[in-house]
Symmetry: C3
Subunit: 255 residues, 3 copies
């Protein structure tokens, strides 16, 4: 009885303010660890702030672009902007770097990372529902928007880097998917299927199990320092099944 | 009588499914012949698929961006996406590369190319009409949108390449127009003039003659392997008339 | 009495046609002075024309993108497009470069530059009001849109350069703000505050004084050939107050 209600109660968990702040903290700290980010913060705080906003709100910006809604819309939510900006300010400009240092302390870092993963689920479901409100049952669009929301800034990293004066055309998140982008894609597909009643599972249960999976994998990956994604085996199998004849064209080219 | 009706019947020709498939085939094969495309298809099928979609639906994506409509709208048409994706899959991953090889056979290739050119006319007229539905008689916008639809992915090639990790800023379709982009611009101008009743010709006749011109030039260019556009003389004349004093500024600079 | 009415009458000054033309002239001449621009104008007039339009209408294009309005909307105003295009044509292709030369004559140049600055005020106020009509009292969006309109093409310079085949990722207007971009930002903030009744000054007075400031500083900077912005002291003070502990993180990094 009690146990059965956990997912339902969990799915009603409000993201604001604690989980949102955790998301901002994790994002801004990730930005600060980018090579050259600290120099940029000293050279041009505005570029650095804009870059941080792209890290924090990249998902909603990208999804609004996809659905032809004002990409500046996220600025209308003053409270979240204020929170994200304060986090950015404290992480980058706090005297003696106190904030950054204390949240680099592993236990705290793990907690922050875990909470950030929770927000991911909420973003994906929101994205799928939002896309569905625009295009009834256009499942490809639901997947795309859910993915964009969940993967956040990852998919626009090239342009986020451009703000900081960095340009790496040879690499992008589609060419070499990072784990968060992959797992967000999987999540978007799952929640779209669930939304179209193609999955024999209730929405709150799926949210619960998907989030648990996200948090557990994230934490284990941080503890084991390993970069191998849990999907690797599935990917290789899928790759063999679908794209297994890839060597042929290369041979053809070689001839 | 019969002959007079040919253009009218022609203008009622449905593009779906055969001409659309021909367009997808020609586009995806053009993508596969890009340097590095096959490697990308093996390294990251998703990036390759996305690139293929930009080749197939680039025109509609660009025109939706221009008119502030959801650029993901094209994903709502599941049937066409499914067709384009299967074509992409077969061209890139078919065992022993059968599909690609058989459609590289010149007669087939000519047929495909010809049918693709037919779709161009339909795209341009659709674009012009669509723009007119947004901005009554804003002929510049009608030309721009018609051109974007007709020239398809060409105009966004820089960003399509970026998806594949290629970045060639020194060249773009505005700096060095390829023949299809030029002919699409001419077509957009013609159909806009026709739409504004400034041309003494019926719409279906213009469609018929413009398409014939497209197909004939395309086929002859493929057969003669020549890259000289039929517009070259007009261009040089126009260039002399309008921009003929260009040497002056350069001299000025030289001084 | 008379003197008191000056700002009010000034705020009713119509921008069309003289001030607009001055803006186009200044913008296109700035484009022509870009390295390689003249070569582009000879190689591909269309790319050059498009680049000139981005210089002249960059602000409205950027703000429409921000508010999800058709970025091609500016093409609907045929008269202004025609004016801007003629200016572009005369500046780039006039025999013996007469137009460019005569407007390079300092007094004329100063007048043009002054008039261009006047249009900046009108653009910022229009942008702020426009944003407010979309998002009631979302002051961050009002600042952003006002800034985008006022700073014009500056903020999209990277992509304007891309049209001409130039790509300088290491520098952008956020990383290294030029004076016009800075002053547009200040103006956007001021007019937003005024719009929210947080400034004890009437709109037309603010317009009058801000414009005077713009024109005076611009003219003096042109006469003294100095690139030091009048904001430099404020910036350094602000920088010390807000970001004064910047050395700390760098030291931390250094350790």
């Amino acid at each position: 009885m009690e146990l059965g209600q956990v997912p339902l109660l969990f799915s009603r968990l409000p993201m604001f303010p604690f989980f949102d702040v955790a998301h901002y903290l994790a994002s801004v700290m990730a930005l600060k660890e980018q090579p050259g980010a600290v120099e940029v913060s000293r050279q041009s705080p505005i570029a650095c702030w804009f870059s941080a906003m792209l890290y924090c709100f990249g998902g909603s910006i990208l999804s609004s672009l996809m659905l032809a809604e004002p990409p500046v819309g996220f600025l209308a939510n003053s409270t979240n902007i204020f929170l994200a900006s304060s986090v950015w300010y404290l992480v980058f400009f706090c005297p003696h770097d106190i904030i950054y240092r204390c949240f680099s302390f592993l236990p705290l870092r793990l907690m922050i990372a875990g909470m950030k993963e929770v927000t991911r689920t909420w973003k994906i479901t929101a994205g799928v529902a939002h896309a569905n409100s625009h295009y009834k049952n256009a499942w490809l669009i639901m997947v795309a928007v859910g993915w964009a929301r969940g993967a956040g800034g990852g998919l626009i990293s090239n342009f986020e880097q451009l703000v900081r004066g960095v340009w790496k055309p040879e690499s992008n998140e589609l060419l070499k998917m990072s784990y968060p982008v992959k797992v967000a894609l999987v999540g978007a597909v799952l929640f779209t299927l669930q939304h179209a009643q193609n999955l024999p599972i209730a929405r709150h249960n799926l949210m619960f199990f998907y989030t648990t999976f996200l948090v557990v994998t994230k934490v284990t990956m941080m503890l084991t320092q390993s970069a191998v994604s849990p999907f690797a085996p599935f990917e290789s199998v899928l790759g063999c099944m679908l794209f297994g004849w890839q060597q042929t064209p290369s041979k053809v080219k070689a001839e």
